[in-house]
Symmetry: C2
Amino acid sequence: MLNPQLYTDLYQLRMMQGYFHAGMDKTPACFDYFFRQNPFNGGYVVFAGLETLLEQIEALCFDPESLEYLAQLGFAKDFLAYLKGFRFQGDLLAVPEGEVVFPNTPILQARGHLAETQLIETFLLNTLNFQSLIATKAARMRDVAGERTLLDFGLRRAQGLGGIHATRAAMIGGFNGTSNVYAGKQFDIPVIGTMSHAWVQAFESELSAFRAFVNEHAKHSVLLIDTYNTLKQGLPAAIQVAHEMQQQGQDLQGVRLDSGDLAYLSRKVRQQLDQAGLQHVKIVVSNKLDEYLINSLIQQKAPIDSFAVGTRLVTGHGSPALDGVYKLAQIGDKATLKVSENMAKTTLPGKKIVYRYLNNEGQLYADAIGIDGQSAPCTIHHPIHALQQCPLKDLKHEKLLKTVITKGKRQTQKQRLVDIAAWSTQRRKQLDPEYHRFNHPHTYKVGLSQALKQQRDQHLQQHALLPC
Amino acid sequence: MLNPQLYTDLYQLRMMQGYFHAGMDKTPACFDYFFRQNPFNGGYVVFAGLETLLEQIEALCFDPESLEYLAQLGFAKDFLAYLKGFRFQGDLLAVPEGEVVFPNTPILQARGHLAETQLIETFLLNTLNFQSLIATKAARMRDVAGERTLLDFGLRRAQGLGGIHATRAAMIGGFNGTSNVYAGKQFDIPVIGTMSHAWVQAFESELSAFRAFVNEHAKHSVLLIDTYNTLKQGLPAAIQVAHEMQQQGQDLQGVRLDSGDLAYLSRKVRQQLDQAGLQHVKIVVSNKLDEYLINSLIQQKAPIDSFAVGTRLVTGHGSPALDGVYKLAQIGDKATLKVSENMAKTTLPGKKIVYRYLNNEGQLYADAIGIDGQSAPCTIHHPIHALQQCPLKDLKHEKLLKTVITKGKRQTQKQRLVDIAAWSTQRRKQLDPEYHRFNHPHTYKVGLSQALKQQRDQHLQQHALLPC
């Protein structure tokens, strides 16, 4: 869906009509996008979905069919006429796609009129939350897979059409290819495929099935060897076919294991392949893989070349949603916040600037959230625990948010997915191993400037809004 | 996506080309769709997605742009010419959409040529697995919510475009409406919406925000009262506005709580509303709801009228994927099966018939899987444990699978979602409460006829395929 005109919550349109009739639709507003918790009990998130979002915002307009439907829902005629000419005319600032990001840091800001910045909320959250989730899950697998090949085989278990962007996000997180042909075409991703058990069953024997397959697809010849009995039937047949191929000057590409004890079987298969002089034949495995199982297989020194990951990648197994939110921070010239009994859910008021600090080795060290226009602070304050501070003197810093849309016009070139993925890989390397750890990862420092902290605390006090 | 031409795994197309060149594309084949385990540790699944699947199969064809892409991927010219004229010409049998189904029972069968029945696998699994998962999750909430209103607010946390069909499936599972405008239009679902915290923050005070909202949307006036302080500020303002509305002959529809202790707050809010003579004002709650929390709130007698459920509905929290598979059962005149070391993963060979038995009260009792053409058996055998049998004498039975497509032509009228949902509700009532239980639900009996069991066991023995 390129044009997300109706891919939204009804209340966005109801509120928009309200703003329009109250004469507030053109009131300047600023919203922040951020999340509160790393998924998977992990130490970081890979920000993904920006390019998709930019395309959606550029495409956003209301066509006659949608307006007719909204009329049926009872929207007012003058508001529908207003929607007819609607385009997003605001500004968008965001961290680059593929960047590593952390809880509480504003990752994206929308600045514009109240109506337009309100309207984009739902599809923005839908797009960024999901792609960031899956890119993060993929990156966790890359963290343990080293240089081994990671393949996305998840389409059949993806959450409906979520399978489209799951694949895109997996590539940003460091995957090498996908079985998903639609995503391959849409995003210029390498598509790969082997065979299913049905292919093997459709022939008289595994041997005839394998022969027919390599005859057809010698260059893509990965044979699935576990349909009946992996070591006694599938593997010997694959070895025979590999030898037949050699006589014709061809190489069998690989064998795939989709069941059983993958550590044990891969070791046995590797031994027998090597004994048969087939050192070039790769071993691909699949079946309920995730970062923990991949890690375990590697620790067991299982001689696996490629991991084909399905369900647990594309559904973000363990944390199937990122809790990203989009909160109003400024309305007109007034900074605003949402109060909560839970201090962690009280938002940060006003237009902001975000600095990222690097240590002397060029590794990511901390993020400082300040008031827009403010220079980089020398100290940050913990967002909740008033007494905790962190000095940032003598550290290099960079502005984290870049302008990507100005007055509705895109300021950046469309980025190729492969370039986003490469940048993401580089940034993840700038994050020390402690943050990549699966168990109790290091908590990355995100703090407030003194000025922002004061502004937030004054708001809470002035309005006597501290809940009791 | 209506036409799923490329929404597939590459290997389906690679195998299809292989069948075509091997002269096997027209070989008769039969595939079964079934799942092995109920999600959410539950006792049943609500089958959903059939109508979507039928539309996809009817729309399935290859357009020039897709064929060009496949050519780039290296597919053979003669195969691409074959694809150009491709339409699904096979038969499809399925249980009705909304039916309650259980592990191992074939829910759908595709019978046709090998090439066409192979090709539909990926999008069939993608569609049926996800919609059945979410319909089941929704039904579990309906199981505990009684007659209270259930609303889908999940779009912002849905898995990308999975949000479209999540909403459709939620309706089949017993939801009353959605915030998702796109799904509302697409599937003729009631759409509803309140306001966000941003609306409240955009005004000088809660009172002015509430006044502006009811002035605009009196008929949809549900006021969000937790932006600053629920009981001290939000609720008093809402009560004042409700009284102002009464003076104009209007009724405030409701208030919404989105944070805090929902049991405590809803009770306090109900008391104060009642004391203010506002018995008609409903209480809507949201925030991390799922079937367990809804159940807990109801057990605590929280006076809640509507539950708005987001993330944990649309992502199938707890079990984010249904493990449905699509397995070749017959090729030509040969029954076939996939063997596994894990007996539970060994498939059932051959074309089948499925009978459902009802007890004397008309409640669902057991499913029997037999060989196609066989009459209803009087005894079923446990699929794995050889000695376990269950007598079915004197029970009423019905054929579970209905023909929905014959030779590529649809045999059934397009069903309205509301009718599917009504049928599902009825069938779920025919399933005793023990199967609806969250903790250790009763296991529904699914067994094999003597003839099918023998066929399966002979296959395993004849081919000496029992793994050791």
